[in-house]
Symmetry: D2
Amino acid sequence: MLRVAICGGSGYAGAELLRILAAHPKVKITVATSEKSAGKRVTDLFPYLHRYENLVYEPLDREKIISRADLFFMALPHAASQVAVDFFVSQGKKVIDLSADYRLREPRIYEEWYKVPHMFPGTLKKAVYGLPELHRKKIAKASLVANPGCYPTGAIIGLTPAIKNGLIKLNSIVIDSKSGASGAGRQSEVSFSYCEVNEGFKAYSVASHRHTPEIEQELSAVAGKGVRVNFTPHLVPMDRGILTTVYAQLAKSMEGKGIHEIYRTAYGKEPFTRVLEMGKFPNVKNVRGTNLCELGVAVNKRTGTLIVIAAIDNLVKGASGQAVHNMNIMMGFDEKEALNAIALFP
Amino acid sequence: MLRVAICGGSGYAGAELLRILAAHPKVKITVATSEKSAGKRVTDLFPYLHRYENLVYEPLDREKIISRADLFFMALPHAASQVAVDFFVSQGKKVIDLSADYRLREPRIYEEWYKVPHMFPGTLKKAVYGLPELHRKKIAKASLVANPGCYPTGAIIGLTPAIKNGLIKLNSIVIDSKSGASGAGRQSEVSFSYCEVNEGFKAYSVASHRHTPEIEQELSAVAGKGVRVNFTPHLVPMDRGILTTVYAQLAKSMEGKGIHEIYRTAYGKEPFTRVLEMGKFPNVKNVRGTNLCELGVAVNKRTGTLIVIAAIDNLVKGASGQAVHNMNIMMGFDEKEALNAIALFP
Amino acid sequence: MLRVAICGGSGYAGAELLRILAAHPKVKITVATSEKSAGKRVTDLFPYLHRYENLVYEPLDREKIISRADLFFMALPHAASQVAVDFFVSQGKKVIDLSADYRLREPRIYEEWYKVPHMFPGTLKKAVYGLPELHRKKIAKASLVANPGCYPTGAIIGLTPAIKNGLIKLNSIVIDSKSGASGAGRQSEVSFSYCEVNEGFKAYSVASHRHTPEIEQELSAVAGKGVRVNFTPHLVPMDRGILTTVYAQLAKSMEGKGIHEIYRTAYGKEPFTRVLEMGKFPNVKNVRGTNLCELGVAVNKRTGTLIVIAAIDNLVKGASGQAVHNMNIMMGFDEKEALNAIALFP
Amino acid sequence: MLRVAICGGSGYAGAELLRILAAHPKVKITVATSEKSAGKRVTDLFPYLHRYENLVYEPLDREKIISRADLFFMALPHAASQVAVDFFVSQGKKVIDLSADYRLREPRIYEEWYKVPHMFPGTLKKAVYGLPELHRKKIAKASLVANPGCYPTGAIIGLTPAIKNGLIKLNSIVIDSKSGASGAGRQSEVSFSYCEVNEGFKAYSVASHRHTPEIEQELSAVAGKGVRVNFTPHLVPMDRGILTTVYAQLAKSMEGKGIHEIYRTAYGKEPFTRVLEMGKFPNVKNVRGTNLCELGVAVNKRTGTLIVIAAIDNLVKGASGQAVHNMNIMMGFDEKEALNAIALFP
């Protein structure tokens, strides 16, 4: 049995790791940490996790917990993750970091967007960006995987085949994303209270969201040159799900059918990315509770524009499910282990 | 008292006209028609409209009702409106048509998108597109006003100052819209049942929605040349509201502040269009139940892109409220009469 | 113009007073207080209240504000209201208190349920319980009106005719209430965040909610003897509305029709309480944004039980609307002034 | 492998059987029927069920399908189920009927409430009411199990220990239930459209719901004499879940603690019924997607009333999950097989 620690287990990503891993036959949770809820039972915060009735949050005492786990999921807030990740990696442990701290390869860009310096550029170099659709082989050998952000996951999967195949003008990319409220985490701010979110719809972090450089880094790597994107997130009155609508001008005239085939080929063997039939488009409700990314592809012939629509569950494929997928790859487990759920519909 | 008929009064637009006009001191509803609900009381369908307890739906018998009203609101389905509108107009009545039948000036384009011929090109020529922000003077003199579609309202208001002032590249426009479920009307299709819409989010009519030519017609008129746009509508799990996020590449480098001032100037005197302070963006919840269009304006300097975000209540500014606004203009009433409500929040 | 102060104006009840009073032709808001938001504009918290763009919250400095208003709406938290109410009343001002501080006539019962002593039993004696359906005449002469709680409003209106006419066994009353989330106020607790409330349904304060003694006090007065009730509130994933389902065993066999007539007679002249037709039952959606209480009445003949169902908007009839109604009565205004809205549906 | 047919597979109960059984290692779906959708793929109606991409609905041709399955889940509308169930049972097949047709032991009562005669009283006698908490042993030997209705499941589980132990007055029972919209099935009626359900809350079938006699039958059997109940269902704006609040006057004075222990003892060994700690009450969100029934127990000492609150997922414990549980018992499988999911939260 792989002994697993969840550091920062009192948020939704941590709770979702507990939910998913309960179905994993080769994993045992040995540690769950939380500073704020130290001493409380997991079930005090999340009564539905009664399967873990004996699991109690403890403070993240690195020295104390390191020997009790073989793999560490880090679900700490951004910036808080840096030190602990470095420590566990330096001691030879496997680490999957769900924070943004090890996603951006350039410390300079990290500092520009997150307003804190990166203290461990050496460890940062070892980190692999944990999007299996792009980096499966590197993930398999990695000791440190930086789990992608929720928005970048759909955006990067949605754009990669188009960029790799030179289908679009790189300076014309618009990424319009819409997320359920759980993307903001377990919230105590008035602006995330039920009455403020329900029956509302708004954009936020317009032209300034921190997932922008992450998307650009990965797309630039695919393109082989710098790519800049327009990225706008919106808040949807629902619990889970991100729908991302991507627009880009075609580099040359192409039929939707040809592009659809390119996408089908690109993801044909992926266990969790599905390209829907031509003319079909995804709905986040169809992937709720699953690790799937569903894609719809279309061409607007009147304007010469490629439209790709991607749907994920932000807490699964956009966070904890993808983290477990990465674990499965790192450990040589069946990739679908514990990730086989059918969407909960309706 | 102006005697008003509501033809097609059993849908949400018709019911919303009744709600709004109940507060209008110069108007009296004398007729409400519905084929399917003829003989039923308005309150059988809409118990909350008990103020109209004696109003009974009748079939739309043109000859029979023409003498009982001075102004006709037409809230019939598309195509069904053509004949009745022509009849009332030809008999010298004022008509405000909430269907799409008289919005598109070119019969050829109407036929291309709506798949039915236009039988009254002569009457069509008399129609004024009822967006007061653009056509107030013509509306004041019109006998027939074609009330704008819900999506075009926000999109056109959001783009007009940018196009009029030559700020953007006309071939780069992306209009990403998100609407509450009432935009689909009073629905008996499974796909609009509670369980299918709730906790879901999807795009629909991708690259093919009928509001596209309406947006293009008005923006082309502003530009003085043909404009084509990418327009994608999405369905949001909420009752009311449309948020439209518009992207267009800047024609030349400009600061957000300068563009913001252009927008403020453009709409400074409008009673129902508000340009929010720099850095603020609208939320549909803040305009719910009102005739307002709220705009947020930003520039993404990294990509040289203008972003405009528009919020309306699709049943008010996007339909019945705008229709009443048009009536107020046509009749010389105070423009804000009956349209003075504050948003219902939360 | 009546000069009105709103003390504790930064919660939903305060904001709702601002929304409603904007339509009142005889009232002018001169003061809005908030300790936490002192110095902020009303529109910083509630952008949709832009009609009050110049209104700034100030601390509740009794001496400073007393001369600037003729009537004070107190929307402070429970216990915080006692002193200020006493002060304004002692200085001859009209006061409508939306807190619980002056609702319970017995200081002993207040202390038992609210765990604080009542410091002003003399002023308490002057307070009139502001349910116009029961106490209109006293309200008209009152200087201090204690505005009813949201749950008691529907429960008391729903039970009064049955008790007054001796229809039910007083020891058999069950009051099962369901409220939208705004009943908890403008919340920053995780348990009221969107993700915790949405798609959930639960009871709370089982057998211990503080509105219980308020209901019992009023029903006991109607009965002429002590009445105890079972009252259970539940949280519904919606913004506004309370539906209360009341059960009581019939004292003698009676037909639903006879009881329905008794209810119709009891409330026939009330401007805001409507007894629906036999066989019809209320939906909170039909009263949203209105000051209405809608009642459905039925008899279960198989069990000999009276069932009364009451629907209100908790922020209007359950709080600020009823407060304005009380003001209208106190000041001799038309009772319906500013309270004439039709429900916002859908 | 047990070969399983799902008759009436195009509703939510049928789809939920497919979802749950996909995780069952000993079951294979061989037939799915639907009259209306015959010829369509399961994925045409339910895209999220892509694991069944080759499963096509066929008409329910009894002769044709009987040899292709060993056990038949019947998810047909009430009345439609009678003939087919009788046929499959008479041919020696195992049948689990999710309709109401074989739940009521007395044909007379069935006819009174469902307004159709029962044509197979002989087969009806063989039917076992499939509530494992009450009838596990009979279910294990049954060839025909009548799967309980969604509302009766929580109500009966919630009341049985109290009645069995003589704790309550049998003529004082009030059952106030609140259900998510999926309880009405896959709906094409306006009254179940998103805009009519969302932000609404109402009672329906007041004093007349068809689940009443089912509840009374089972409680009477527990009591050993006739029991009549007040049962009122309400519609909650959420997808899944039923919360049932039960009230009954105590037969003698008792502490909550003693009653709590009786409930803990009664259900201590049940795999799917959980009695929460004293002072804790259930939330439907904590059982979403699971086969659990969670109970909270309290005593209102002021009124001498027992309050029991039960939460289930209406599509799982209230329908398809309980059906699979019954199958597991009938076939001697592990009771928890395929029913081991943790709630999807948030």
